[in-house]
């Protein structure tokens, strides 16, 4: 068996607060295979977003290892880190907060192409148009400012920006949580299409077990910085074993539709 795309082992991050030390992430291990979606679920403060920030090297861990694409990710620095980061991208919950609102769409998509030396200045407009088309948007959108377009369009732009550098792994941190449900379905479909066609793996961080059961292959449920349980997403959601897993399932609103005859 080949090594996984991402292997996280014994990852730990502690914070000091008021003289106390709190482990936000407490010895966590997991792995992700190519083209696989692993969901990280759990309540607020369980460590989900800290893991995302550790993976992106926005913060450094106190202990543990991260192996990405067969190499020690935590030892990378400078140009080598920058180059590897092109393969590991991120999409946040609120694209308006993630981008300069006055920047144009072309600027937002052109930046990673420039920074990572992917396309020359001359080539860029064509690449930007191709990226827009790839995420189901019109190339005409390139000249618009980020604050002028809809929330669903902005999240498509965020995804286009993430895939601009041809990543093997995209971290999606509550990436569909703020979207209207009618838009959410389209964005999930786009993510699945990209995964199938470009073999991108996702670390899908969410508190919503409904969305997770629709998109994820496997799930890890976090509680207070540790993995309470993990496994096949369907199996875990159908029969959670941990206290926090049971609490999450119980707390998810159930929509019971009795007279829908076409249960197929």
């Amino acid at each position: 068996m080949s090594s996984p795309l991402l292997a996280v082992s014994e990852l730990t991050k502690r914070y000091r607060r008021g003289g106390q030390t709190i482990a936000a992430v407490d010895g966590i291990s997991f792995h992700i295979e190519p083209a696989e979606t692993l969901a990280l679920a759990g309540p607020s403060g369980s460590g989900k977003s800290t893991i995302a920030r550790l993976l992106l090297r926005l913060i450094e861990p106190d202990a543990g290892h991260i192996e990405f694409e067969g190499g020690d990710f935590l030892s990378l620095n400078g140009a080598a880190l920058r180059a590897r980061r092109a393969r590991l991208q991120m999409v946040f919950q609120d694209p308006l907060a993630a981008f300069n609102p006055r920047a144009t769409v072309a600027r937002v998509l052109g930046d990673p192409l420039r920074v990572h030396g992917i396309a020359s200045r001359r080539e860029r407009p064509r690449r930007i148009a191709a990226l827009l088309e790839r995420v189901g948007l019109s190339a005409d959108l390139a000249t618009r400012a980020i604050h002028e377009i809809s929330g669903g369009q902005r999240q498509r732009i965020a995804i286009a920006r993430a895939i601009a550098t041809k990543p093997s792994l995209v971290v999606l941190d509550e990436a569909v949580s703020a979207l209207d449900v009618s838009v959410r379905g389209q964005i999930l479909q786009l993510l699945l299409d990209l995964q199938r066609e470009e073999r991108i793996a996702y670390l899908f961080i969410s508190h919503d077990l409904g969305v997770i059961s629709a998109i994820a292959h496997r799930i890890a449920i976090l509680d207070a910085g540790r993995i309470a349980e993990s496994g096949d997403a369907r199996a875990v959601i159908d029969a959670p074993q941990s206290a926090i897993g049971k609490a999450l399932v119980a707390a998810t609103p159930k929509l019971t539709r009795t007279s829908m005859h076409d249960a197929s």
Partner: protein
């Protein structure tokens, strides 16, 4: 059935950048005393505008046509006394530099005419009712010392402090995680039942709304597209948009989506 609130042909227009946008168009809806009604819709549906209009909280610049009547009352309801309002973001609705006990006591002092010590005693009782751990400590706490869920409990305590007939919760659980959301929804349900309040529950989440409400009103682009009992709206929706909303809901039994690839090789 006693009608608490009667909205007739309500149109609300916002003026923005020189142009006018109709946020609500010719809305008519009756709410019975003691009933729980969910107002659902996506962004731009007008659901929050309706809540603000009923509470008399629309900005001065908005234009309001139509009527909002309160049969059985001889004066317009007073916000905070007759109507309690819980917003999505408790950090924005609570004063960051005032102890939470005082914020709740102030409502009782202002609207019930209680002296300060009686108002504080009332605040403590309310903190117990919204199940904040250690109400004596909580009285003196400031909002930043509380979690998001605890802050929302304080906001609910302040909203019901004057014993309002109508409680409006506008996306009151949307910023909270699943477990805290369920706790706050259960708390709202219990308080509404205990105090015989009428509930307007504004939400984008049709599943959560169906768990709480007896009737559901579905809004889209400022129109009321459908209203009915929860069972009728959920099981036999008449409107295509309502059906689309129901179909877009992803419950625990949702997945995997048809287009999801199988287990990766």
């Amino acid at each position: 059935m006693t009608v608490l609130l009667s909205v007739r042909d309500l149109t609300v227009t916002y003026r923005r950048d020189g142009s006018e946008v109709a946020a609500l168009k010719h809305i008519s809806i009756d709410v019975a005393a003691g009933e729980r009604v969910a107002i659902i819709g996506e962004s731009g549906s007008g659901k929050s505008t309706l809540a603000l209009a009923i509470a008399g909280l629309l900005p001065q610049s908005s234009r309001i046509e139509g009527r909002i009547d309160w049969p059985g009352r001889n004066h317009a309801p007073i916000g905070g006394r007759d109507i309690g309002f819980v917003f999505q973001d408790p950090s924005a609705s609570l004063d960051p530099v005032m102890a939470v006990g005082k914020q709740i006591a102030e409502v009782a002092h202002t609207h019930l005419g209680l002296g300060w010590s009686a108002a504080y005693a009332k605040a403590k009782t309310l903190l117990e009712r919204v199940r904040l751990p250690d109400p004596d400590v909580a009285l003196r706490a400031y909002p930043h010392q509380l979690s998001g869920g605890q802050k929302q409990r304080v906001a609910i305590a302040a909203a019901i402090a004057a014993g309002p007939k109508l409680l409006i919760a506008d996306e009151a659980t949307s910023a909270l995680d699943t477990i805290v959301q369920a706790e706050i929804a259960a708390l709202i349900r219990q308080l509404v039942a205990e105090d015989g309040m009428t509930l307007l529950f504004v939400s984008h989440d049709i599943a959560l709304a169906a768990e709480l409400a007896e009737r559901i009103a579905v809004f889209r682009h400022g129109d009321l597209v459908e209203i009915g009992t929860t069972a009728q709206v959920v099981n036999t929706p008449r409107n295509a948009y309502t059906r689309a909303l129901l179909d877009a809901h992803l419950g625990l039994d949702a997945g995997p989506m048809p287009w999801r690839t199988g287990t990766p090789a």
